[in-house]
């Protein structure tokens, strides 16, 4: 069972205010939703967890081993990330992009084998994008790009999956499908999924745990039912939500304040 741990991690961009301030977070297999306002530090946390940004202080541990001591390819075999804004080369096809997910497993000259192709096609299937395989990346809609990127991450066959606002460009059906997929991977294959999300209710409905960030600090962490409260939401977003219970799942649902009464 993979465990991803952030230990007293701090980070500041270019000497400015700290983006992350002494964050400690241990994540076991399951889906953890990372919530918080803009600039709360969600993306910074995800990038540090992926080993793409060295923490200024503290460290990231993967099964107890410091991520900084694992080589790039080694990290890429354990941790996959779906970035928030990714530039994609327009002339490559979706299948070629997904096959790039096999990079950490391939030698210098070894061409992708039948197994890699099967893994890539299965990944495309899982995000409902099999039909996109031969389309060029420059011709895709925002949602199709997003699914292609998720498929690439799946093709990496990692046991840690980091999603930075993965539902941003997706319609409602594909949003729920993606989180169902994440949940399924966590249940069936024991994946650790950490997803930075904006939609509190989507997070509450799907995540095993929620972690709220505010100004670079974790202000609440736990099961949705335990942490989703009006006061936490006010601390995180500066808004007064009303909370009700979902009639079927019993999970909390946050209701937006009436227009003009947000703060």
């Amino acid at each position: 069972m993979a465990i991803l741990e952030l230990e007293h991690v701090s980070y500041a961009y270019g000497g400015g205010a700290s983006a992350l301030d002494d964050v400690s977070l241990a994540i076991a297999p399951g889906v953890v939703g990372l919530l918080g306002a803009n600039a709360a530090g969600k993306t910074t946390l995800v990038r540090i967890a992926a080993g793409l940004l060295p923490p200024a202080r503290g460290r990231v541990l993967l099964d107890g081993r410091d991520l900084a001591s694992v080589g790039r390819a080694g990290v890429a075999r354990r941790v996959a990330i779906v970035p928030q804004s990714a530039s994609l080369p327009p002339a490559f096809t979706v299948l070629e992009l997904v096959l790039m997910g096999r990079t950490p497993y391939l030698g210098l000259l070894a061409p992708e084998g039948a197994r890699d192709l099967a893994i890539a096609e299965r990944a495309l299937e899982r995000v409902d994008a099999r039909a996109l395989a031969d389309r060029r990346l420059g011709e895709l809609s925002g949602g199709e790009r997003q699914r292609a990127l998720v498929a690439r991450a799946l093709a990496q066959e990692t046991d840690i999956l980091l999603l930075d606002e993965p539902t941003a460009h997706l319609d409602l059906a594909h949003q729920t499908a993606l989180l169902d997929l994440a949940l399924g991977l966590a249940r069936e294959q024991g994946l650790v999924v950490l997803a930075a999300l904006h939609d509190v209710n989507l997070a509450a409905a799907y995540c095993d745990e929620l972690a709220f960030l505010s100004r670079g600090r974790v202000i609440a962490r736990g099961a949705p039912r335990d942490v989703l409260s009006a006061s936490t939401l006010r601390d995180a977003y500066g808004l007064s939500f009303a909370l009700i219970e979902h009639p079927e799942t019993g999970r909390p649902v946050a209701l937006l304040p009436a227009p003009g009464h947000g703060a």
């Binding site: 080369p89 327009p90 002339a91 490559f92 000259l109």
Partner: protein, 341 residues
């Protein structure tokens, strides 16, 4: 990678054919069949009765063939370096001279022309040596200046290249101005050409072109992944800084070697990669070998035109590459208006 072998075989055939035709041209026309017989007569166990003037052999082996081979090596080196920089910088305007190599080599060459050096050092032309060394030093200086901590941001690299290039060009311009009587030789060198090519020049640059080209050819997959942004490439397991350094070093080595023997030939390194990309798509594993072959064939053809066009007097090959290549490229560009980069 499906369908790489056929285009590569096609490229090899094109290069051999272009080279053979180019070798027939010159004051003494040596027809293709005679060339074949001359070559065959030098093979072991083959006996051919010579039916050609004895001078043909000297012309073919000492003048035509080294020139064709040198042009091919230079074309391959420049085109592959151009493809590498375009891929690395994700910039369609990148060319082999991006990091100030041209200005650096130009400065070295001009120094060799104006300072009282011996013409040869260890049997190698001093112009060639200084051009090669200053080109390498310039690129190395640019890379070193562009480093920020442990990383080398591409934008900084680009700007450092432009700044150092401008500085070297300024020195070159002054040296040319102050040595007006040598303007013609200097300018001729800068425009580039293969007049007086020798086997020795071929032998001197081959190792550098081969080493640089091999490193780049082995990096096809990495170049593909680098078409994403650097952070994505890193998340897919690529050591981005190491890849950048290796690819820049390889492209620099090949370019500096080519420039040292041929001068500053433009257009090949910029357009040949685009042309091949238009025809065969963006996969660098296929692109790099094809770019080498097409670059070689293109420069051999351009050189043949350069020395045949105006009868006895030669046109600088750089003039031919641009004048012939640009319209042809535009034609291909307009016919296939799809996004290829």
């Amino acid at each position: 990678m499906a369908g790489t072998t056929q285009p590569v075989l096609g490229g090899i055939a094109l290069l051999v054919l272009t080279g053979a035709v180019a070798a027939t041209l010159g004051p003494a026309r040596i027809p293709l069949d005679v060339q074949g017989l001359i070559l065959a007569s030098h093979l072991p166990f083959v006996h051919v009765v010579p039916t050609w003037p004895a001078s043909y052999e000297a012309v073919l082996f000492d003048i035509r063939l080294p020139r064709v081979v040198l042009a091919a090596l230079t074309g391959a080196a420049l085109a592959v370096a151009g493809a590498t920089y375009q891929g690395l910088f994700r910039n369609p305007l990148a060319d082999p001279y991006l990091l100030g190599i041209a200005s650096g080599a130009g400065l070295g060459a001009v120094l060799a022309f104006v300072l009282p050096f011996p013409a040869l050092l260890y049997g190698i032309g001093i112009v060639q040596i200084l051009a090669f060394v200053t080109a390498l030093c310039t690129a190395g200086l640019v890379y070193w200046l562009a480093r920020v901590g442990r990383i080398t941001p591409l934008t900084t690299l680009l700007l450092a290249g432009i700044a150092i290039g401008a500085f070297a060009s300024a020195l070159t311009a002054y040296l040319m101005y102050a040595n007006g009587e040598k303007l013609f030789v200097i300018y001729s060198w800068m425009l580039g050409g293969f007049n007086g090519a020798t086997w020795q020049q071929v032998a001197v640059i081959t190792p550098y072109v081969l080493v640089g080209g091999t490193i780049i050819a082995l990096s096809g997959r990495v170049l593909n992944v680098l078409q994403l942004d650097e952070e994505q490439a890193a998340s897919l397991g690529v050591n981005v800084e190491r890849a950048k350094l290796g690819l820049v070093a390889a492209a620099t080595l090949a370019t500096a070697a080519a420039v040292s023997v041929s001068g500053l030939i433009g257009f090949v390194g910029l357009m040949v990669p685009h042309f091949v990309r238009l025809l065969f798509g963006p996969d660098h594993r296929r692109l790099v070998p094809l770019v080498a072959l097409f670059g070689a064939a293109f420069l051999v053809a351009a050189d043949a035109i350069a020395r045949g066009l105006l009868g006895a007097s030669e046109v600088p090959v750089g003039v031919v590459t641009a004048a012939c290549g640009a319209p042809f490229f535009l034609h291909v560009l307009r016919r296939q208006k799809r996004n290829v980069f």
